[in-house]
Symmetry: D2
Subunit: 497 residues, 4 copies
């Protein structure tokens, strides 16, 4: 397969960068280069911002029902090309085709929700807030937004831009430097739906380019998803430069197994939450806290099931776990294991350095499980791959306290059939999302998403109508008039009901 040189999409044209710097995009199962990702130049940055700025006023004046119709068309295109998109995701990210397809289904739900834009943009109107005085508000878009999606869901999270443009803004997507090809494909499809030039643009580069886009005086805000460390930097940079920002960071998620949990029913869910998408998702369970009555049984069944994953290239049939995205990433996981063992953790399933037939150079690690404790890096920090921890807890109160000591506040999950315990758990855990017998409680697109503490920087959550709040500003109008009807304005009240 020929190595493709990726292009930028600026003002409605796919153009090759004038840069001389490229990053190699690798197939993580093969460690082979599949594309060259250009590190766009400052001139290209200026051009893309100008395009997004110039397109804004006309797009803002485009009636929302027309913007809505374009999204219906886009939904159709995405559906029709789901196979091809899945292939690209799997190629650059490594995940299985089946995982890629499920990612696309979630992404389609973003489009479905944004396609309700006419409903979501409604302002309010109140007659007679005072005698003869009316007040209303309308929602106005703001201008060019910078979209910085991560590598792990290159289709789904790139699609955040649909709400931005549905709301009347323009968008500049800087795809993940590791997985840019998917976003490019999405925008190619959008182009076929009658997208006016400049409304959505793609500019390739690293975080440095992202930073330059944020601080550029003609952009208005940024949507970022990535690690907590970078989320914090992006957020503060944006805010200190007068921009809106919504920065979703990392996570360290907990699952609690109560003594009444229906283990037959939940084990698949728990294991898949831990290892699906090679554990490279911010909603994956990292730490399992089981109460002492069931701890041993949960652990044994979990390990037995975790062993069943079939590693390989994501595109191959029968494979249920792909490689992780990069050699660097893999090394971090191995380091986390080493340091945990040194700190006294007990390795109870060792998936390091697996033999994967046909793919000796791939970045593979099989499901790996340790018994670990708070205070260890592997337990406390985000390990973005299939290295998970078990810990025995005395009861649910202890479990909640362990969860609330985490510096992350992304998700917490309880497995129980007891309605009381579920309610109390929901109320006590200090996380943005909670699952009850749902290991990956990622809100569906019509519910907002966002963590607490270091898991999210920003006041307004992502997706759902919340992100329409983020992508628009309200303008409040108060009105009174002074020309009475000619004839004194007597109204015949008796005709009015």
């Amino acid at each position: 397969m020929a190595v493709q040189v990726l292009k930028n999409f600026i003002n409605g044209e796919w153009v090759e960068s004038k840069t001389e710097k490229y990053l190699e995009i690798k197939d993580p199962a093969l460690d082979e280069t599949v594309a060259l990702n250009p590190m766009s130049t400052p001139e290209e940055l200026e051009a893309v911002v100008k395009a997004a700025k110039d397109a804004f006023w006309s797009w803002r004046l485009t009636p929302p029902p027309r913007r809505q119709k374009m999204l219906f068309k886009f939904h159709e295109k995405l559906n029709d090309n789901a196979g091809e998109i899945a292939r690209i995701i799997s190629l650059e990210h490594g995940k299985t085709i089946s995982e890629a397809k499920s990612e696309i289904v979630r992404g389609l739900e973003y489009v479905e929700h944004a396609a309700a834009i006419c409903e979501l943009l409604k302002g309010a109107y109140s007659e007679d807030v005072g005698p003869g005085v009316d007040t209303m508000y309308i929602r106005e878009p703001l201008g060019p937004f910078v979209m910085l999606p991560p590598f792990n869901f290159p289709a789904m999270i790139s699609l955040y831009f649909v709400w931005a443009i549905a709301s009347g803004n323009t968008a500049i997507i800087k795809p993940s430097r590791l997985c840019p090809m998917t976003a490019i494909k999405l925008v190619e499809l959008l182009e076929e739906c009658g997208l006016p030039k400049g409304v959505v643009n793609v500019l390739n580069g690293t975080g440095e380019l992202g930073n330059a886009l944020i601080v550029h005086p003609d952009t208005v805000g940024v949507t970022f998803v990535g690690s907590s460390r970078v989320a914090e930097i992006v957020y503060k940079t944006a805010v200190n430069n007068g921009k809106r920002a919504q920065c979703q960071g990392g996570a360290n998620n907990f699952a609690v197994v109560a003594r009444d949990a229906n283990l037959d029913a939940i084990m698949d869910n728990l294991v898949n939450s831990c290892f699906g998408h090679s554990s490279q998702r911010c909603f994956a369970v990292s730490n399992i806290l089981a109460v002492e009555e069931v701890y041993d049984e949960v652990k044994e069944r979990f390990i037995a099931q975790a062993k069943k994953f079939v590693l390989g290239r994501g595109a191959d049939p029968g494979v249920t776990m792909g490689p992780v995205v990069s050699r660097d990433s893999l090394n971090q996981m191995l380091d986390a294991c080493d340091s945990a063992i040194k700190a006294g953790a007990k390795m109870i399933l060792d998936g390091r350095n697996p033999e994967v037939e046909k793919y000796p150079n791939g970045y593979f690690i099989a499901p790996t499980v340790l018994e670990a404790e708070p205070g260890m890096y592997v337990f406390d920090e985000e390990v973005f791959g299939p290295v998970r921890c078990f810990k025995k807890v005395k009861n649910l109160t202890e479990a909640v306290n362990v969860i609330n000591q985490s510096t992350y506040g992304h998700t917490a999950v309880i497995y129980t059939e007891n309605g009381s315990w579920a309610r109390e758990f929901i109320r006590r855990v200090d996380t943005g999302q909670v699952g009850v017998n749902v290991g990956t409680p990622a809100p569906i697109a019509f519910y907002p998403v966002g963590g607490r503490k270091t898991a999210m920087y920003g006041d307004i959550r992502g997706r759902a109508s919340d992100c329409v709040d983020f992508y628009t500003d309200k303008k409040v109008v108060t009105m009174r008039w002074h020309t009475p009807f000619e004839e004194g304005g007597e109204v015949k009240a008796e005709k009015l009901f």
Copy 2:
């Protein structure tokens, strides 16, 4: 105590009726007349409708923030006079002072919710539904509404009118013929809050008068709460005369006790749901379905606790159960027992003809429990007093099927700690309200209320923002304009973000 002749409130004045017909209002604990309720004349009906009609246009133009402020004042008055109101309720209805006070607290919540009218009346506004075209809607009140409250919550349900007037309508209250004094007291207090004349009126009479008000061409709708039989008549009369109608009927409510129910925690709740307010409330549990594993224990504990009620006059200290509202009503309960026994029901707690010290003439019946079956009147129909049924069921599926065979669809309650069962029960029962470990799942005022089947006639539920839907009509406006700015209307887009 002198027998008081009740007045009507027409166009801001308390006036004595010209009628020669009066109903005696009795203290049900004493069987003594405490007031004379006038059966208002056709001329008075014309006068009251005219007052409500004439007041409408000016009230409609009163800015909602002013109407809101009046409700804050009214809330204060009700609070300050809660003791006096409770005394009146207890006097004419019979319930205990403590029950009357809790009724008032619920009623205050109606006022609290209606006092959010500025929020609730908001219409919507959308810019650019087409090029240069905007659409909005506003909510308009309709005119004079007829309010027909029942005897059993003479304060709380009379207060439904607060939403009607907050929305800009005027109101004519025809109080319950059995318990009119409470509504009169409420309107006296409202009068002290700066109520413009004609906005709220009181006209005393029977159902016949209610009917005449509904069919009068100058009223626009009716809010009724009472028996299913009358609700249906009122609804059809209203609708066939082109009026809006919201008619809450009777109920026959079921509580299901699952085998895991926490009997220690729930027994008070179950027993009080059955017998509170002398069982004269449409949310009271009538039939208890316990699964076979716990049936006997539930029954025994229930009966033991039901025996503890102390009968007496509601105003006396220590009394926990008052009389029922009238001799007629009492006789219906006794008949229901007789017919049940004939049909094979087993009397397991016989509260008929209790000895009540000091009140030999009162309309008393103590908690009475039968084991009964579907097909018996006592099990299938609304018995509006402390006669309740037990039935053993095999499992929850049987319980749901028994519930769904009822011709009423008001409430169903499950006692369980299991989250699965609760969810499945909620989803399967065909009732307007559901309780989970809550025997009397009457929605708080900011949630809508309404049953299914014969328990409610009308499409729009009562209370909450739903009743603002009922008391207003939307007017949808589509606008476009044709005078451009003088200078060609060029907007400097670069200044806009």
Copy 3:
């Protein structure tokens, strides 16, 4: 072209009726039969209701996101087949292809709105309405709905069913007896989108069949659009049989021209509102009230422009006005003219008996204008074709009073540039819709539609989120739990922020 025998769609199958009675569907430009419409039998009625009933529970349990996805698919199919649908509309109804296409665009907006069903179905949840007590509501669908669309927008209005099924109900469409082919085509397209059997059904027949469907014990409600006379009958029949009903009736719409109106800008809009779709739409302006200062000029320019319509078969290029739908309908218009002239109206543009090349047998009438007055049938009643009235008014107050004396309350339009007058007009007219410089203020699909007085029977407006209110019932749940966490439930509050 062969005469087609139309089929019914029952439980997922297109079946020929066993009836021996058929109505002829005619091409109104040719007076030639193009199809035979079966008058379905009682057995077929039973079959279709059973299908809709049997399909209900499973469809109700289908997650709304899946129902939503089906509507996206349906939108795509409608778009792809818009040309073919327009051809069918034009064939059976007579309107021009361009009018038919614009009808389809509006209909697509119904689908777009209903495709937001996940957003629209959201219930509410409140924690701690009392200590430890939560309350929520969910929206539940009701069962099989009967859809009775009219002949004049056979695509758009038939598409009302999308909200019914999106909400989880099943539907039985009885198409207009005059224009059934369009609805059939729509359902054929829906079938290709993975519609489960029984969820949408088509049964052909007359109003008698519609009545039988409504009174059938297993249907739950009806959506009707048609004349006021029938709307009233349908509504009362439904309601008296315990069904929900939403019955949009006829109209008699007014346009008011103020002295400051921008005649250059508005004349097209006014004339097209009067005569578009051969005036067979309930939002068409019927009566033009111009203030005396501009009356003559408005009249002259109106007539000059009205003369420009080119009559012919809707499918022919260059034609701007098709025939009316039937000979009966045409005769009613001619009668209205005759009676008006007898009553003293002045014919100022006589479009009766036009010569239409190639189509000597078509049901044609060209734009026809009278100067008429209240009290005349042609001014007071709905004439569903291109016969319009002019009346001079002294000022806006008189105009509003004329409008408010109408027995219809559908729409009123003002042409003015004055913000005061617009606001005062909006507030004073007693109609469900108002236009400001918009002659046909039909709300876009995401705003509710509905007239007042005889223009609509029912409390809940059509389309928008309102019709989700109509197609669902709220179930309110109140919950409390009793199993504390094992260890006394101490929460470490300091961990919570």
Copy 4:
């Protein structure tokens, strides 16, 4: 009058500060000290934060209906004490009693809106987002908020805290260092309403103390209203310390007079907008842009009317304009005039150094008007007192462009009767609020407030339901259950409709 030493309110007790530093609070009409404002110590800061933190969890668990009831009580207290509060406002700020009372009315509307908290806190619930999976969200309060109100509306803006506590947070108010007495009075009244200790606290000091509160690790956010310069500092400090912040800054507001404006009707409104509250409000018009056709007439009538203000001590009868708040503030205004004149502005009404009988030492300046241009400080920056500018513009397009070049984006007002112009103006001006014939388009409490550019720092607007978004975080829960009903869970579907 004795000089009062102000106290702090910490954990439910009014305590004297241990500080040795005090600021003198002056009566601005007399230049006499009326109170001593303690500069609280670091220990007091720790104590107040601890109180707010300790009170949080219990207040959060207090059912919202109870919090709501407390606000009804508070509304009553404020109403009953409006005269006394007005006296205090006038004393420390200088505004007239009538202005102070109107401020209280606006403040009462804050309480009215926050008293709808049960409605505003509702979360959402969706059944079956997947098979058997439900999703919901609840709104959770965050912890102790810091409230930093400004001097100019010491009652109204201090009352922002009602939404914070209604939502379940606790609050620490640091009153304006110039006008602290009003906030203290408000909290004294709140105390009488059953406020639990620690839920609302008052700590006196300067901006330094405000800063220390914000950066304290146990506070969660800040609501600030003041100058743009400080708003920016507060915002960035808060955000960089991981806190929520909503910082309303200054303004430079424009009124545009179109050639069709009804000068008779609007002149009062325009002049009062410019000079009411001694021009010390962020919604006051600063710059009047009149189109050339009416420029001279507007200017003359404006000046004639501006001359009519009667200066004096706010509490004196007949006075219509009080002093400005401080000598420093007055000097800034005089400097702005000087620099404007130097830059070429023309003084057309000189109100500097007015003779004010009885109050020779007061900080007075009468209405002062210049003809000025962009580029001059007096035209471009916020002059927080009665110094206003006139500028002639060619047409509305020029007016909009002048407005959009301002670095502030708070309000813009148009005076016109033309609906087109109003609509176009609304759409084009880049401000957070717009007035149409309303000079001070401050949104009523149930609409959100907030400027653009330097007029507001933060994503979420103040007041209305928006500020409930600010004071809460959503927690999204996804649930599934696994215990079927005992008997296979067969539901009898036919019973369900």
